[in-house]
Symmetry: none
Subunit: 222 residues, 4 copies
DNA sequence: AATGAATGAGGGTTCATTCAT
DNA sequence: CATGAATGAACCCTCATTCAT
């Protein structure tokens, strides 16, 4: 009935129209609640047509989300690999230096399909990406804690839970910025600012830790 | 058929068993995808039995989530009211001082029903709590920006987007801690640490801003 | 919760309160659509309480409708019996004379519980009274046709279908008047007027029949 | 499972089979009590199949009843419009003359789908047609009373309630004939006969009124 | 006498999926 | 390639009825 002719749309392939419509509905309602029939209708087809391109609703979801998810994992893995090059006991200190220049690349990977990232973050309940962000966070926490453990010599580090919290907070902030509709430059600017806030804040906190230990907890808030 | 005698289950009231089972399923599958019949079955009843206690699936959800949501809003509102007492131009500076002592209270409110908070945060799609955290974040951002705007005299503030990002990050961290299964003391400790990191980090960043302005952006990372 | 104390209601017995409430709901929604629970609640009880007085929803309906239905059948049967007393071949002519004086009695029987009659007429789908009026009509038609058949000598009667239609119309009018909320005197007045209209109208029609037969259908509408 | 091949059933389209089955069940049980599942099963389908053709149970009902209801209203409206053409003070007298020739048309409209009319009359509780006949009756009563009121000069009219009763009786008779399974010619014949009975009967009754008034109620039954 | 809890069957409706055409 | 018809399971919810208390 409301079927649009292909010619009206230039050369937009069927598959792409389906993906576009699916994105829209998955974003609006999430994976579980988005009805396949409406996805198909908005693309100008009947729901049966989808099965010529995707084996199931879930595969359709992955057709949208897999590329950015894989690209992101690849990018993060390569950065992690780079971080692993220094000797174990120096790894912690070099991390920041290695990491910072990669920020724009990371952002660009995620921005290559922002809607797909939104989908992963907000609409993936019921799919394999349900815990995607959580998994990234966990891995980073592990990496850092591993580095902390292997750092030789006295190292003023924060307590484990605080460190974890900050790592998770940093990554979550990154993710939130990606899905925030801010433009690329703003995101990068914010990421850098947040990075510095964390860096400076952590340094300051560790000095307090020093002081505290030396002066047997004389000051401190509360 | 599967009707269990109350004696077999001790004195757990029906309503409580339903709530418990509902919590479990809502947590696992989210509001929309959790089937009422399974909730009922896991509680040892038929699905019709639920309707003796709750008018609808949604009401069942709210029976779990309303108490902590209302308590949280009340607590946050009262803190915001307290923050409004200083004269407008001094509000920004006093915020932290007023806010910090309330952290344990805030944590306690949320911890009064941790699962309910998880539900609100992760499983409320399709309910009135869908945007609960987002709303809290928005309000806090507004309050702070309002205070910034009214602060008399030269005020070294961060750019608007960075500030918003940090506020959102802070609150999100709080929420994540609540739903993280850490114990109360750890959460409070982390919240205070994160608060100090943000505070010190922001102060450091603003000094850089000073320097930058004075020396026409000589340094700074990339 | 909203349970009224018996003392507040004087000596209104439980059973009567249930019947009253049932009447209300059956009238509003019909037998099938009226929920027992609401009937019970409006009477100030729980739905289980009904089963102390009535074996089923259907029995509750009959508790309301049986009395007037039986009384009506009895009254109509006695009138029919009286009509049967004249010799078969004179029965037709005496019918009207015998019937008319009973009109007020018939009306009074139905008015003894007007709501119950409404129930039978409008809300009895799914019960044994579904075809109550239809049955009365059928019986009257049979009686009259029987009398016509046994009337000796030339009798100018209308065609069978027309006669049936008129009988049904007359009785239906009676029923509609009963359920019309008009007062007793008005109903009787209308019944008598309608009776005369039918009588005079039929007489006139039969003369036309005469004329028609004699003058070989010269006139007549269309 | 019970899916029958189309060939086994000739060329009866699915939609028509559903409508047919729906008609059957709606007639038997009424709109509310007729289960969609059984309607579907009797048509040879699963209940979900209905929703490919009708948006809801109610729409299915209207798919059956709307056509005849609309056609009937249109026909009656056009007749009413025609009756409105004479000057107001002569309207009453011309009504019958205008109306009678339309009887066959009215009958034909209703007979175009007799089962649908039965549905409207007997099985429409819970739908927009619940008061269809009542509305027609009301409108006709209004029209006639309006004409009576505007008739100039002495007019021997019956008392208001009697008049209303007769109008309602006449229309109800028409409706009952339609749903009576009599054939078209019989119905028309009966309608005309009933019309004449009413006409002659009313004329006779009005003369009695004359006499009564002149002779101060000397005679009259009872 | 009445409750209140619970059942179990059934209600209308939605939806991912299949498949002949 | 795409449709359109249909399935079948699952969904939330309602209700007459039962029964221990």
């Amino acid at each position: 009935m409301a079927r649009r002719k292909r010619s009206e749309l230039g050369d937009v392939a069927t598959r792409d129209r389906i993906l576009e419509s699916a994105k829209k509905h998955f974003l609006k309602s999430g994976f579980q609640a988005a009805p396949l029939r409406k996805i198909a209708e908005d693309a100008g087809f009947t729901s049966g047509a989808l099965y010529g391109y995707f084996a199931s609703k879930e595969e359709l979801f992955y057709a949208i989300t897999d590329p950015v998810a894989k690209a992101a994992m690849k990018k993060l893995d390569s950065i992690r690999a780079e971080m692993d090059t220094p000797p174990a006991e120096k790894r912690l200190l070099s991390m920041g230096r290695i990491y910072y220049p990669h920020i724009p690349e990371i952002v660009d990977v995620f921005l290559s399909d922002r809607d797909a990232v939104k989908l992963i973050v907000y609409g993936s309940k019921g799919t394999k990406y349900e815990h995607f962000v959580y998994n990234i966070v966990s891995r980073n926490i592990d990496v850092i804690n591993d580095a902390v453990g292997k750092t030789k010599g006295r190292v003023h580090t924060l307590e484990r839970e605080v460190m974890d919290t900050l790592v998770e907070g940093y990554i979550s902030t990154l993710v939130r910025l990606i899905v925030s509709d801010k433009d690329r430059e703003t995101i990068i600017k914010c990421m850098e600012a947040v990075g510095r806030v964390y860096e400076n804040g952590i340094v300051a906190l560790m000095h307090v830790g020093d002081t505290k230990k030396r002066s047997s907890a004389k000051g401190g808030r509360k």
